[in-house]
Subunit: 240 residues, 2 copies
């Protein structure tokens, strides 16, 4: 990104181990659609970059308390003293300047792959992304949007209120609400590709066309309803 570039910025975080996977094709579709619309697009390819997902003491080159690790307190200290591990600092810079964050991953165990979970654990810094009552619509990323683009092995009928696995949005609540909305993002309705390992190439092509159309219609995409701090008191108890 060059200084003075006034384009809207999107950052994609992509987590799949197979470069020829459908999830890789979804990442390319997201990137190409955004570029065609004039966005400046960057991407963290977590597998290709061998991103380390394990939150640990070595994430801080200088410690507030070297004898006892409280991760969020060390994050705050490291922010103030430029003491973050370089890989974390680089990711934070990419994310904080992006108007749109897109997470592209396959669902593993109703959730994100570990390499992406650890990206959240390490990059969403206390003090910058959230802190105290600076959560949800008062979080550090308020005013920005986030989108989840994901694939599943299951069929659509296995999800939803009557489906064996339950509703997909509530299934993804730890990432949609507990991570993205928690730090302030306006969270768009996720794009979910079902039954991917078992469908034909034509069906996959059709899903990518749907995704392309979704990216073109991003501004009219539904957003998920999330808690607002306006409805809670100073101790985060619901106001009557």
């Amino acid at each position: 990104m060059t200084p003075g570039d006034t384009r809207a910025r999107a950052h994609i975080v992509y987590a799949h181990f197979e470069p020829r996977s459908f999830v890789a094709a979804m990442r390319d579709t997201v990137a190409d659609s955004l570029v065609a619309q004039g966005w400046a697009v960057t991407c963290s390819d977590l597998y290709a970059e061998r991103f380390n997902p394990v939150a640990q003491a070595q994430d801080f080159v200088e410690r507030r308390n070297p004898g006892y690790l409280v991760y969020s307190l060390e994050q705050r200290h490291a922010l103030e003293h430029q003491a973050l591990a370089p890989d974390i600092a680089a990711e934070v810079e990419r994310v904080r300047h992006a108007d749109l964050l897109v997470l592209v991953f396959p669902v593993f165990w109703f959730s994100v792959p570990a390499i992406l979970k650890g990206w959240i654990d390490r990059v969403f810094l206390s003090g910058l992304f959230y802190g105290g009552r600076r959560v949800y619509d008062r979080g550090g990323m308020a005013g920005k949007r986030a989108l989840v683009v994901t694939s599943l092995g299951g069929r659509r009928h296995m999800f939803g209120p009557d489906g064996i696995h339950g509703d997909i949005t509530s299934m993804l609540r730890p990432v949609l609400q507990g991570s993205l909305a928690y730090v302030g993002y306006e969270v768009l309705e996720p794009f979910v590709a079902y039954h991917v390992p078992y469908i034909t190439d034509a069906e996959r092509g059709s899903l990518l066309e749907d995704l392309h159309a979704s990216m073109q219609a991003l501004d009219s995409r539904a957003t998920l309803r999330m808690p607002s701090l306006d409805c809670f008191d100073d101790e985060l108890r619901r106001l009557q």
Copy 2:
């Protein structure tokens, strides 16, 4: 574990980076309570063992399809050909022989830390833990029990149907339902310690006493209601 040992077996999977943490004390309480009741107890200390949580091609010493990685298919192939990476094979042996699996971790972002997510991603093998319609009460671990023991920064009033973050059991659904119940475990009601970073030593001691009492009353602990395959047809559509 010596051959001929007829004690009931528990395996604890513990994920915290600070050896003097409250979560470490919860792990010790769980282990000590079980040993005192006559259980044989083993533990995976994921941080101490530097467990690698990233599912990847190197998890298989021989590949069914070296050109394109479908993780679950390679898991099945590796099971049949003893081709699992040694760290995975060791964890699988510990878990498959345990009557009770206990996961002990701090909640990070409404979820498990990445190092524990990756333990699930890599250890819960397709073909052994689940496969096809061998899920939920027909999963590979059917007849065994699992318990989540976890800590949170938030206060109890922030959770529940009216709480800002929503219900804790639904928050933990990816691990409770999507991982443990999915592979067949009978899932006990989780033990949740709230507000841990902010409470007194006496309050922490009291929580550990509660945990000890919970472990002594394990056989009467409530279990979570999970889907039964009896209610679904061959395509996992709900029977009318």
